[in-house]
């Protein structure tokens, strides 16, 4: 990817909890496709987005989601510019006292004025979250679709063509 407006693409989740690794798989495939010069890759925890996405034109966050929709369904959510609602930092997960969820991190970034101009969440509905590597067939197919979808976002196409 050539130089241009700063774009950050982050894959969230754990590769060792089956379908939870979809975001990481999408980020890795995009890094291969879009090449050097782009900030694309896995993010260990949402808090690590602070600093990394500061002032970006676009941040694309890819994560596995739970939903009533069938496994492999892709959901795209534009997080908009209004302050998101939701759990406060560090209260987002009942399993972590120190982690800060994605919504909390975005709220925090907006409060201190470092949030990206546009934040797009690409969710892939997962079905298997047990220990171990490997995506379920439906989610594996969705990863390919999600890579095409993100690569086709106008900001990314514009930068690639610049």
């Amino acid at each position: 990817m050539s130089t241009g407006p700063r774009i950050v693409i982050a894959g969230l989740g754990s590769e060792y909890r089956r379908d939870d690794g979809a975001g990481v798989a999408v980020a890795r495939a995009l890094a291969d496709r879009l090449g050097p010069g782009s900030d694309i890759g896995p993010v260990g925890e949402p808090l690590d987005l602070l600093g990394r996405w500061d002032g970006a034109e676009l941040a694309v966050l890819v994560d596995t989601v739970r939903s009533a929709d069938p496994p492999g369904t892709i959901q795209v959510v534009e997080l908009g510019t209004a302050a998101p609602t939701g759990p406060a930092p560090a209260a987002g997960s009942p399993r972590s006292s120190h982690g800060i969820g994605l919504v909390g991190v975005l709220r925090l970034a907006r409060a201190i004025g470092t949030a990206p101009r546009r934040v797009v969440l690409v969710g892939i509905v997962g079905s298997e979250f047990g220990a171990g590597e490997g995506l379920s067939p439906a989610v594996r197919r969705a990863v390919t679709e999600a890579v095409d979808l993100v690569a086709g976002l106008p900001e990314i196409e514009a930068v690639r063509c610049a």
Partner: protein
Amino acid sequence: MADDVRSIAVEGMARVEGEGSLHVSVRDGAVADVSLDIFEPPRFFEALLRGRHFTEAPDITARICGICPVAYQTSACTALEAACGVTVDSRIQALRRLLYCGEWIQSHALHIYLLHAPDFLGCADAVELAERDRAGVARGLAIKRTGNELMTVVGGRSIHPVNVRVGGFWQAPTREAVAALAGPLDQARQDALATVAWVAGFDFPDVESDYRFVALHTGDCYPVESGRVVSRGLLDATAEEFSYRVVEEHVARSTALHARIDGELTYLTGPLARYALNSRLLPEVARRAAAEAGLEEVCRNPFRSIVVRAVELVFACDEALRLVEGYEPPDPPAAACSAPDTGSVGAGASEAPRGLLLHRYELDGRGMITTARIVPPTSQNQRAIEEDLRRVVTSSLSLDDPELTLRCEQAVRNHDPCISCAAHFLDLTVEER
């Protein structure tokens, strides 16, 4: 009033990979019962380690905590190096200490700014704090980011570093990569000094506790990655000797283990203990910051632990800078370690951001782990935290239930245990009869 009962029941208290709860019962104006129940995941790791080769322990135990993986890796390495009869050279020791400083910077900045400060400023959470003090929170996040950078350069990544091995490191970072940390660390030190001044201005409840402090002590520098386990008038022990003195017991009300010295004595580890036993060993810049913040050589007010933690943040930045400036890549990056074919035993202790972390391993003649023991800070501090709660509730009975609950949460967060969730994760129920 006879039979006047206030019951504070806090269910579903969150912590890393575990669950806990808090119960306080007040009867006839006196605290009748306090219990902080924690379900400790590290016990599973001890069983998991049996039958694994000793070289696997640093990577396996790092997974116990996402906030202090370096502590687990370091205690595991020093314990297993002791079992192998290996002493690492000064360059490896310095690089290990540098990596550990990164963890302290990261963890202390997180706790001070995002988890603890909102308590003192009447903010619901860090977002509300950021809305009020944008520059302040941005400063905290910048400090944390520098800690992350340091861990990435030395450890390979900022969470669960992959460059640590028994004997040292898989690869020594280049001089250039390490030198590039100097600028950010210098800025972080300035920001840490501003942090001390900021937290020193908070209002603190007037509470003092007669803690029995336990911390590492080296005699010539502030303890981080090594030292003898010391408690004034009670202990001056190697990690191996300490492992026999600290006795953990199962408490029926939860899966948590409670640690006591000799099975009897409650004690406290962590910043207050480290500072009390080592404040004279702090570098000048940190000692001056402590003095300007009004700290004496020993601090017994648990609410002022945020000030001590900020002073340690200054220390960690300053120490990291010193180590960066003197960096010489260890060559080879690790000492060769092999387990004696007769079997062996080794213990190691280091200072995790929230307190002393002890590891002890027994190996068979093939280097396989036959017994593993891990004593985390939260297990050691649990009784001291309960005693704090009892003291704090006793002195705060005039508060209404919401305020008393907040004060209890704050008393827990003072010690930064893994159960200290930043926002209001506690629900209060009051029963009067």
